[in-house]
């Protein structure tokens, strides 16, 4: 029986030089990037000069001096999340941003433990570990591949036993881009605007290819 999708999440991570205090719900509402009611209903965890963490309905924002992370566990908010990043850095176009990760994560429920173990053995054959470890089991596999386009960076895939569903498998794809000359927020935003949908589609395709190997 084919594994079933349990949860799907998506995040956009930017590395650069940020001023966390700017990124408050009221600012987003003032700039028209979220609705007024949405900003008022935001769940704030931390607002501090060094770190801001809060959640709008559907997605969560975490900003430190060197990292901007926006994430969502709800598919209806994936594209609006991308728009929020584009809108934010259109307004803050002089913010130095030099690296970006477009990340997809999925948890799948596997129907039997035998299938789950079999997939783990397929990814990480255990013969080499016998005699070194007692009852070796796969905890995590991370594989990095080259990008097929002309951008600098890599594509990283990670597979773990899922902590969210048992027996289950967690897949993560990190589509990482970096600029090789200075810091350019508009350039990365243009890549985000034109390549985001293809990146997510490609990452989902990669995950589904591996899911086909289960069972």
């Amino acid at each position: 029986m084919k594994p079933s999708l349990h949860t799907s999440s998506h995040s956009i991570v930017l590395l650069g030089d940020f001023n966390p205090k700017i990124f408050q719900p009221a600012w987003f509402a003032c700039e028209g990037l979220v609705g007024k009611n949405e900003a008022e209903a935001a769940e704030i965890e931390v607002i501090h000069a060094e770190v801001v963490v809060f959640a709008f309905q559907g997605f969560k924002l975490q900003v430190t001096r060197d990292r901007f992370i926006i994430s969502s566990l709800q598919e209806p908010y994936f594209a609006p999340m991308r728009d929020l990043v584009l809108g934010t850095f259109e307004l803050l176009r002089h913010t130095p941003v030099n690296r970006m990760g477009i990340n997809v994560e999925r948890h799948y429920r596997v129907h039997t433990e035998e299938e789950w173990h079999s997939f783990g053995h397929k990814l990480t054959p255990k013969q080499i570990w016998n005699g070194i470890l007692e009852e070796p089991g796969m905890r995590s596999v991370v594989i990095q591949g080259k990008r097929k386009d002309s951008y600098n960076g890599w594509v990283l895939m990670r597979v773990d036993p899922s902590p969210a569903v048992q027996p289950g498998v967690f897949f993560q794809v990190n589509d990482h881009l970096e600029l090789d000359h200075g810091h350019s927020s508009p350039e990365l935003m243009e890549i985000l605007r034109t390549s985001w949908r293809d990146s997510v589609k490609r990452s989902v395709g990669m995950i589904e290819s591996l899911v086909e190997e289960i069972g």
């Binding site: 949860t7 995040s11 028209g32 949405e38 931390v46 969560k60 598919e75 990340n103």
Partner: protein, 190 residues
């Protein structure tokens, strides 16, 4: 290297020196600042050693002459299981025409390779926050699927979100017009 989010999306934790004024326990969610001498002063009380421990830091401090002051502890709720959503179908739409209580839109199916469709949606489907965004040419995302709440209740939902991007400023509009004229002239289309 860009940071791919950890699995449960809630493992962001800061561990700052106590001196910076903010420490957060990654697992319990407690945020506290170090004891402030101005906070509590009770004259005549003996000094005492005091140990405060969290899951990520422990602190042992003694005030030599003044009695202890209590740390400010703000206990944040530990995040429970989040709300999740698994999509069954999703579309990207463009508003074609707005009527009194509905609008027509062209829909591009994002889930399957199907031809574009046109559909009429009622304004009741749109949240009040977004009503002002419903105008000709506006882009929106429409997803139908199952939402699962933290208490594991499942509900079928239809969610429409309109695209929000910053409005063009008059200066940007003028620059775009000038660029268009320049291109037109260079192509000899004048």
């Amino acid at each position: 290297m860009s940071l791919a989010l950890p699995q449960n999306c809630d493992t962001f934790a800061i561990e700052e020196p106590v001196e910076s004024g903010l420490v957060r326990s990654p697992s319990s969610g407690v945020i506290w600042s170090p004891p402030s001498e101005a906070l509590v002063k009770r004259k005549g009380e003996a000094t005492q050693n005091f140990t405060l421990s969290t899951e990520c830091a422990s602190m042992h401090t003694t005030l030599q002459e003044e009695p202890y002051s209590y740390p400010c502890v703000v206990k944040l709720p530990v995040e429970t299981r989040p709300t999740t959503f698994v999509a069954l179908q999703s579309w990207e739409g463009v508003v074609l025409k707005v009527q009194e209580d509905s609008f027509w839109a062209r829909l591009v199916n994002l889930s399957e390779e199907l031809p574009d469709e046109e559909a009429e949606l009622t304004l009741d489907e749109i949240t009040t926050d977004q009503r002002s965004l419903v105008r000709e040419g506006a882009v929106f995302y429409w997803t139908i699927g199952y939402e699962e709440s933290p208490s594991r209740e499942r509900a079928r939902k239809s969610i429409i979100r309109f695209r929000r991007l910053p409005a063009w400023t008059p200066k940007e509009l003028k620059a775009a017009e000038e660029e268009a004229e320049r291109l037109r002239d260079s192509l000899g289309w004048g």
